[in-house]
Symmetry: C2
């Protein structure tokens, strides 16, 4: 018995958690309840009932169907419903004019064939992409109303009062819906889209940083498995949210375009720019996904080699993440981003990565030629340090440490070096056993990092475009400092 | 006047093209027209009207709202509408039992508060993910019907006949919809999902092949710009369709799960496996997107260097494309794929790529050290050729040809070598001016190719899993040959 009594409690907890996740859900449910009660009063209260009569039902239907979560969706549906009804009523009236003069049988045939024709045409129209996107609901309502009025007119002589009453009740229903969604704690699609875009930037920043950290994490000291899982999960959720955002972005932008402007700065708010920014961000996120792929790849550069490049790579990633964070802050505050958001630091970090890679040419030769390479390498390195722009302190001892590691590795059995995850894939192709240069995967990693910076530029251009067309406030210095 | 008369003609052409794109659209529109005419007959024909009376309207509404493009969607909506109506009617009946014994005022308050409560609860329920996914429409209909019946009961003494008539007309409407969508030229969501999955494989195969071809295309002889654009477009459409497929896949699988099984081989068809396969394919497509990124990257390996690896890379890509094509054929024919679909050819191609890369270690040194490297390289190469598994004929003259090219390049001004697309990005970071090793981008390309093969394995595993659970026909030899 105790078991059974626990079930409603767990349901309640679940329901509570859903409401807690986004408090606007509970509020929206309360709004729907209130709107329905209001519209029911039309029927229940005597003086109101005398005005609208039995057609109050249409107001109830309208409220149930039209009142949506965000204001934009409600306006879109409400206007679609309104226009669909008006147009259907007009068309039905024209058809009625023709049908009224004829006999019963001809009238039946005429109504039947017009129902068929309009049904065919309206359904076909719904396949047009532009109609489907904006007016799908309106066409359904048009079809519905047209059929109801035309068919009813067959047995009712005067169809005009019917259409008029229905229109007025639908108007009442729409008015209640619009009032509830526009003036009582409104949820704006535009704001959702805005904050969702900001969250995307933040998620990407986290992803990039966590990804590079994870790549250079010392795999031998697996100190904290939970920590590791958490960081891997954060990489994934960060860019996955961006990759999967296409349809929700488009929906939000579509509904947002129906909302009244809530900014005084420009005539029509450029919601489509958000969609475009979203697609550029997805383009950026493909690189992050590929970076993440490097983490999970079967072929891995040994930790010893990777650690040589930890500092410059981590620096590039931090700078990229910093730029993304700055963009997020500037969008959130409706401020323009700093003109030099792509900072000199990033430039320097790239230069460092560049010189670090050029300082280690021997890595791209197979491990087997270690002895020949290391000799040549020292020679190269000495000439390199004079040409490279900066000499990083952390790279001074690299040559020695690498030689040390090489020797250490030589002591271990060769299979150990090939990485132990072979068992995971069951196929006969043991790709890990191929002797690709050990540095090849790292080269891919570094190249993706650079590619990411290139795409970051595209993102910045798109953000600036958005900020221009949305008339964001001018960039101010204190903004940059906070 | 002639101008104006042309507008309807162009509209007509547009409408025709939409229907031609997918002929089922026109058929569906005809089906809707027919169903509406049938249901209108309930009202128009005298004997039928006597049976259902004015409530025939509900049948019309049902047909307009429920009849969807695919059978699964229609069943889903029809059942949701049916169950929603039945449950709402039962609940309204219970509330009526309580309300009927009390006075007019108490009755009004009681009805009003129950409308509010049920409105709140039903709207809140729609936020539950599991409800939203499967029963969203049912909850809306429940709320609609409950309100209509409860509110009507206030002024109508006997609400039972009303509910019964409404139920029976809705049942008639649903029956007509189900008949039209299940037995008259049905469109199955499951078949859509199946063929859409096959198309994804084919698109990816085209993408991979075109991408590698494009990468190794000789950029100097820009013989055919149209050709180039077409091939670039085919790369993009191929993988883009996969990347953007998430929501449409889930919808199709959801509707397909409502369809009666149309295979005799297993009890419930594993539509969710298609969704899972879709997500593994997206995982694969991220690599293709990254490969495509290599094509459009600002930093490019010079054509001369790239051409060294044309043969092995193209071979790997061809083999990958071949495997994808084979998987597409096996899925399309509901046959299991060959157990050795990941062929030895692919293995060999990878080995060749491996040895080609290991045969050119000097590429990963900067161009500035050409003289030191080329000496060492020859030394290396001679020792290499004895160990490498195969000596490709095309690689015999590489050392010589590369030296030649190096010299040629040295004659040109250095800006020419840095690739001319710099003007495209306006930022101050001229990433192309960084001196990353010229081979670094190629390393990324090769590494992505290998990564692609690894992910191909995951795809094959998922396909095999799907084929097992869907009880595809056993693999037969002749299949493999065609």
């Amino acid at each position: 018995v105790k078991e059974i009594s626990r079930i409603p409690a767990s349901w309640g907890a679940y329901a509570w958690s859903i409401g807690k996740e986004d408090q606007r859900r509970g509020i929206h449910a309360l709004k729907v309840g209130t709107a329905l009660t209001l519209v029911s009063l039309l029927y229940i209260l005597e003086p109101l009932f005398k005005g609208v009569g039995k057609n109050a039902m249409w107001a109830v239907i309208t409220v149930v169907v039209v009142l949506e979560f965000t204001a934009g969706a409600t306006i879109c549906k409400g206007l679609n419903r309104g226009f669909g009804t008006v147009m259907a009523a007009s068309l039905a009236f024209i058809i009625e004019l023709v049908a009224v003069r004829s006999g019963k049988i001809f009238r039946g045939v005429f109504i039947g064939s017009s129902v068929f024709l309009i049904g065919f045409a309206a359904t076909y129209l719904r396949f047009f992409p532009s109609i489907k996107k904006n007016y799908d609901y309106g066409v359904v309502i048009f079809l519905l109303t047209f059929n109801l009025i035309t068919v009813s007119s067959f047995r009712q002589d005067d169809v005009l009062p019917l259409a008029r009453d229905r229109l007025s009740t639908i108007a009442i229903g729409c008015a209640i819906c619009l009032f509830m969604s526009l003036f009582v704690l409104p949820n704006w699609s535009g704001e959702d889209l805005h904050s969702c875009t900001v969250r995307k930037f933040e998620g990407l920043a986290r992803s990039v940083e966590a990804c590079v950290d994870e790549y250079f994490r010392d795999q031998d000291k697996d100190d904290n498995i939970l920590d590791k899982q958490a960081s891997r999960a954060s990489i994934h959720t960060g860019y996955r949210a961006v990759l999967d955002s296409k349809s929700s972005d488009e929906n939000l932008a579509h509904y947002a375009s129906w909302e009244p402007r809530h900014s005084m700065h420009c005539y029509s708010y450029p919601w489509q720019k958000y969609v475009k920014l979203g697609s550029v961000l997805r383009h950026f996120a493909y690189t992050v996904a590929a970076l993440h792929g490097c983490l999970e790849s079967e072929i891995q550069t040994p930790t010893s080699v990777r650690s040589l490049f930890r500092n410059p790579c981590t620096r590039v990633a931090r700078e990229v993440a910093k730029v993304l964070q700055e963009l997020a802050v500037s969008i959130r505050n409706h401020h323009r981003c700093a003109p030099d958001v792509l900072s000199d630091h990033l430039h320097e970090a790239l230069q460092d990565l560049n010189s670090a890679i050029r300082a280690q040419p021997r890595l791209f030769l197979g491990a087997k030629h270690g002895s020949t390479n290391s000799r040549m390498l020292m020679e190269l390195n000495s000439s390199k340090h004079t040409t490279s722009r900066t000499t990083l302190p952390s790279f001074k001892t690299d040559t020695a440490s690498l030689l040390e590691r090489k020797n250490m590795k030589a002591d271990q059995p060769p299979e150990r070096n090939e990485r132990g995850t072979l068992g995971r894939t069951l196929s006969k192709i043991a790709i890990t056993s191929l002797e690709f240069s050990e540095a090849l995967p790292f080269a891919a990693f570094a190249s993706l990092l650079v590619e990411m910076v290139v795409r970051l530029e595209l993102v910045i251009e798109e953000v600036k475009d958005l900020e221009r067309s949305a008339n964001f406030k001018e960039f101010m210095e204190y903004d940059h400092l906070t």
